[in-house]
């Protein structure tokens, strides 16, 4: 009994720790300037949503840009990742195992190792300030993990299913999209939410490849807000929470898939 109390007390301490910064941000975003100054960490005396209105006005364009970036990347990985993951799971050969090793290696090398030459290549090709250009970069960086993740789902699908489809006279390509891909839906959804999260959250890539103010996504816009509204923390907090909101909603609905996809031990080794 006593032990149980200690276990729950510790779990609650971790819970408070996990929620505390979110409480600070939320309470600050609901205060006006004067109240924030007098009482920076306490509860707001009344609910005041005007900061959110101001924050949303400033972030509107960046929201649209982030949405395009995220949707473009999701469509791109949906077209390229599932067939690659399937082939690496089911068409076993020396080459496929080398490629699995290569994609794992890709997940460990730093973005910074490639960013400088890539910047010069992209500026030669006039792809700086191009959202489409950045979508291509996102696809390239996020697909190695996405391929390994989906591969771990395809490995569990029995070979007989594919063989049955092939006997019906379909080519492997058709058999994949018509039979195997629909079965792998749980894996696909997991892969998509993780890629969407990474696309929305990424900072260093848009910081480097998008400079025009009309093109920047939410993350870069937020980092610039601090210069713009140097001490107006109530608005900065409202804007920050708005910037995280789409991901928070996605997590609220699909948290099991996030946890399984990112923290499941399927990728180990």
């Amino acid at each position: 009994m006593k032990e149980k109390v200690i276990v729950y007390a510790l779990l609650l301490i971790f819970l408070v720790y996990a929620l505390f910064p979110l409480y600070v941000a939320t309470s600050a975003s609901l205060k006006d300037r004067k109240e924030l100054f007098l009482n920076p960490l306490g509860l707001p005396s009344h609910i005041n949503t005007s900061n959110y209105v101001k924050a949303f006005e400033t972030l509107k364009k960046a929201y649209i840009n982030s949405t395009f970036l995220t949707l473009g990347t999701v469509i791109g990985v949906l077209l390229t990742v599932p067939p690659a993951a399937f082939a690496l799971a089911k068409m076993k050969s020396r080459i496929s195992s080398v490629l699995v090793g290569y994609f794992f290696f890709c997940t460990t090398i730093p973005i910074l190792l490639s960013i400088t030459p890539l910047y010069f290549i992209f500026s030669r090709l006039n792809l700086i300030n191009s959202i489409t250009g950045l979508v291509l970069i996102y696809i390239a960086y996020f697909s190695p993990f996405a391929i390994l993740l989906m591969r771990s789902y395809f490995v569990t699908i029995p070979d007989e299913l594919l063989e049955a489809a092939l006997i019906d006279g379909a080519s492997e390509w058709q058999a994949f999209w018509k039979v195997i891909f629909p079965i792998a839906r749980p894996g696909t959804i997991t892969m998509v939410v993780i890629v969407a999260m990474w696309s929305w959250n990424n900072f260093i890539l848009p910081l480097t490849f998008l400079h025009e103010e009309g093109k920047i996504p939410v993350t870069v816009a937020l980092a610039m807000l601090r210069g713009k509204w140097s001490a107006q923390w109530e608005i900065i907090m409202a804007a920050s929470l708005l910037g995280a909101l789409p991901i928070a909603i996605l997590f609220a609905i699909l948290h099991r898939r996030f946890i399984a996809g990112l923290a499941g031990t399927g990728l180990k080794g």
Binding site: A28, T108, A140, S240, I259, T265
Partner: protein, 294 residues
């Protein structure tokens, strides 16, 4: 291998094999091509550029190992490297311990409900979390008001303050990884231990810990790799300041490449970051080969 073909030297086998490879590339090709063009070729270029002097405009000049010699003799690189080593040590220990404790508590209580809350901070944009913690530390609008210290503005505390914020947005990930690994341990082991009168500590020490040791080792190796890549956290909170006290290899490299146009030196730093990551990977495979159960 296809059984009907039999003799691996026969023509039929070769055709079959070529068809198989062609098919493989039909499926993997698009993803691989984008990756090679955008990740692999530029990465190799960076390694190559680290042997050149280049401002990004004029033709690069080959200078051998001069960039490496230069960075290893310069204070800013050594300082950033030290910060990365401190960062690695902090992350190898504190969040791993927190994750282990969290996972074991979740196992004992069977209250998986908490896990989603612990995990939630790890999926938020680092920019958002960095800004929120800047506010928490703020000397007027945050804890600093009560502590009487600007944690991010002080050269002796800033790096640890950023690391502390990062731990908040990281330990829940480790907790989930360890919890998921614990699910793979046979429940019978815990039952048997209970019958033998084992304490809760014994359960943790002799069942949980050895049961998930491979996962712990793997996460420690990944921690080393990731610790040398940290960029966003510093960029949104302090940009390396005050007085370089939070400069990391990644931020130093970024500044050299895009602000001072010393592409060669920046590339040498980038190459070193990758080398440290690869050393960690080598340690992992060395441990694996040595038969340590990882």
């Amino acid at each position: 291998m296809n059984k009907e073909v039999g003799d691996p030297t026969s023509l039929g086998f070769k055709v079959q094999r070529r068809k198989k490879v062609k098919n493989l590339f039909l499926f993997v090709g698009p993803a691989l091509l984008i990756n090679v063009l955008i990740v692999l070729i530029p990465s190799i270029s960076t390694v190559a550029l680290s042997f050149f002097k280049w401002d990004g405009i004029n033709p690069p000049i080959f200078i051998g190992f001069q960039n490496f010699k230069h960075i290893f003799l310069s204070m800013d690189f050594l300082q950033a490297l030290t910060h990365n080593v401190i960062w690695t040590i902090v992350f190898l220990t504190i969040p791993v311990a927190m994750g282990l404790i969290g996972a074991e508590l979740l196992r004992r209580s069977k209250q998986k409900f908490f896990l989603a809350f612990y995990f939630f901070p790890t999926i938020l944009p680092i920019v958002v979390v960095g800004i929120i913690w800047s506010k928490i530390y703020h000397p007027i609008h945050g804890l600093g008001k009560y502590l009487g210290i600007a944690l991010l503005g002080n050269t002796s505390t800033a790096l640890y303050a950023i690391a502390f914020a990062n731990i908040w947005a990281w330990w829940g990930f480790l907790c989930a990884v360890f919890y998921s690994a614990i699910q793979g341990i046979s429940k019978d082991l815990y039952e048997a231990a209970k019958l033998d009168g084992a304490t809760k500590w014994h359960e943790f020490r002799y069942i949980t810990l050895p049961g998930i040791l491979p996962t712990i080792v793997f996460m420690e190796i990944m921690t080393i790799i990731w610790s040398f890549q940290v960029f966003d956290w510093v960029w949104v909170t302090t940009q390396g300041g005050p007085a370089g006290s939070t400069e990391l290899l990644a931020t130093l490299m970024y500044k050299k490449a895009f602000y001072s146009y010393r592409v060669g030196e920046a590339s040498a730093i980038g190459t070193m970051m990758a080398v440290f990551g690869m050393l960690a990977t080598l340690i992992y495979y060395y441990l694996k080969r040595k038969g340590v159960e990882v």
